[in-house]
Symmetry: C2
Subunit: 339 residues, 2 copies
């Protein structure tokens, strides 16, 4: 046996091992850098909102004569604790407005939204089948869910296929620009998990006669606050959707009311969320204003809109036997202030 050859074989094996080791290190380092670079803001640091604090369901707080089932509400909280809280799902309701829907989907999916897990289009057109599901160019699944009935309650269903705790409730004619949507989600994670957290506010204001009136809020001295964030552009925790869709007395009455009037599911979500948490809603402003198509066929432009909405507030007030809405005086804006 030629020892120099054998030695050459050993040397080449040693060289191969070194080369493979170096290659493996380089690849690992590359992958780590890539992971850190592409990881959405703070995800590595904040898997949970409350470092080390274990989840615990809480009972329904006292509010006037409201009676609800603690068992149902505690089940709504416990059921979704295994879902991830570092990504979110868009639940977008649509009804025969293909142009608006496509424009909105296109705007949302044209850029990368780091924490977007899935888009679910709640297709309320019973007669026409939705288009097939697809994946966006950034790999986000777009799933059309054909509703069993044309009901505003469909958007608020806690879809058993949802994979995230955060659900972004939206309509087909309004959207945050992608980087702002990511910012609003991060604000929900940090500050708004127990709130309706989103882009536009409305107010229930008590009038001199004791009745409640729906309004667009006011910046006047002594007001300059808000007590509702509408679900056309808002994050909600899936537990609140679950309780809204539950068999508890009040949620059942609410859903029947919403179907009867084809209105006010968003007001009801604010009533329920504030009732269950004792907190107000949370307004978040993006870097850019949100984009809204002029609604040509939407329900909020009909004459008598304010009156109908005021009636909902007063009817819910009677139904709940309490006014759970809470005035919030603060809101979130992006960036730093230099001083």
């Amino acid at each position: 046996m030629d020892t120099s050859k054998a030695l050459g074989g050993v040397q080449s094996r040693v060289f191969k091992r070194i080369a493979i080791t170096v290659l493996a290190f380089t690849l690992s380092a590359g992958i780590m850098v890539a992971l850190f670079t592409y990881a959405p803001e703070k995800h590595l640091q904040r898997i949970s909102n409350a470092v080390g604090i274990p989840f615990k369901a809480w009972p329904i707080p006292q509010c006037g004569g409201f009676i609800g089932s603690n068992e149902i509400w505690e089940a709504s909280q416990t059921k979704y604790q295994h879902l991830r809280d570092d990504k979110f799902t868009i639940a977008m309701q649509t009804y025969r407005r293909p142009k608006e829907l496509n424009d909105t989907l296109h705007a949302l999916l044209a850029e990368k939204i780091p924490s977007l897990q899935e888009v679910v289009v709640v297709w309320n057109d019973l007669e026409n089948a939705p288009p097939p599901n697809y994946k966006s160019k950034y790999g986000v699944p777009v799933r059309y869910r054909h509703s069993k009935e044309n009901s505003l309650n469909q958007k608020l269903l806690p879809d058993p296929a949802y994979e995230t705790q955060a659900i972004f409730l939206s309509d087909d004619d309004i959207y945050f620009k992608p980087r702002d949507l990511e910012f609003v989600f991060q604000s929900w994670r940090k500050f708004g998990r127990r709130r309706m957290t989103g882009g536009f506010t409305r107010c229930a204001v008590r009038e001199a006669n004791g009745k409640w009136k729906y309004s667009f809020c006011s910046k006047d001295e002594g007001h300059n606050n808000y007590n509702m964030i509408l679900s056309g552009l808002a994050f909600a925790h899936i537990s609140f959707l679950d309780y809204y869709s539950s068999q508890d007395e009040i949620p059942k009455k609410i859903r029947a009311y919403v179907d009867e009037h084809f209105n006010c599911e968003d007001i009801a979500m604010n009533f329920l969320t504030s009732l269950l948490t004792g907190e107000g809603p949370l307004l978040v402003k993006g870097k850019d204003p949100y984009v809204s198509f002029v609604p040509t066929n939407g329900i909020s432009t009909k004459p008598g809109h304010i009156e109908a909405r005021s009636k909902c507030i007063n009817d819910y007030n009677d139904m709940f036997k309490c006014m759970p809405l809470i005035d919030e005086t603060a809101h979130i804006e992006p960036g730093v202030i230099i001083s």
Copy 2:
């Protein structure tokens, strides 16, 4: 015995009882109305930040090679749970600037601040005795605490006489206007309990050579965030002060460092708070800008200030064996946005 007289006695006793009962009810109703009217914003609704969720101490999260005592940190958390969280204490540090101190106290005490429990002036002038304690015209006690040493650590002592969980750390030359201070406190309660929550930001920025640099932050694209709120104008939970002042290894080293350099206790508070919570600081803007006297005798106007502060950051980074500061991209502003 005259039965009519006896009957008259009974009637007058019955009448007296009715009168007393009516009077008692009226008084109770009056007191209740008064209590509800004068209760500061939301206090009745939000005794706790987390409705029904019991307090649970959490361990120190992982951060690089940082080693701390979970027992000490858990004790720091548990010790103050009995203190009220719906009021706050001002801890104002002063050293031989009677004009600034008096102007600041006057501005703060001239208007009612509903949630202000007590003002503690941390009197760091060892040679001259402080003036006597007094009560403001709105009944707020002003207590002078004569420091045992002229140390920047004195402001961060968890005074055993404190009655509140929220401590507003401040200096004698800077203040929020009263209604803004109340707003910042309410923002701390709702969003910032686990953060340094206050009025002005600073940044630790990593340079190309791997060293950290102290800066006034930047609104440039890709930055526009902050990772410190200075303790000249900031709320901190008393548990963080307790850990800062504890016998754990790193806090002891920090206090010695602060005394040696007469600087950087505020940077240290940001390091510790973000280390213990995994959260960034929180900037809150009031309706008006905060008021700041031009510092004539303060340490932050000395030449070499930026370099000295940068050195602190790098030294703490070595001491902690990790960089716990977390970039925050959001801040709080007052009021509603109409849309």
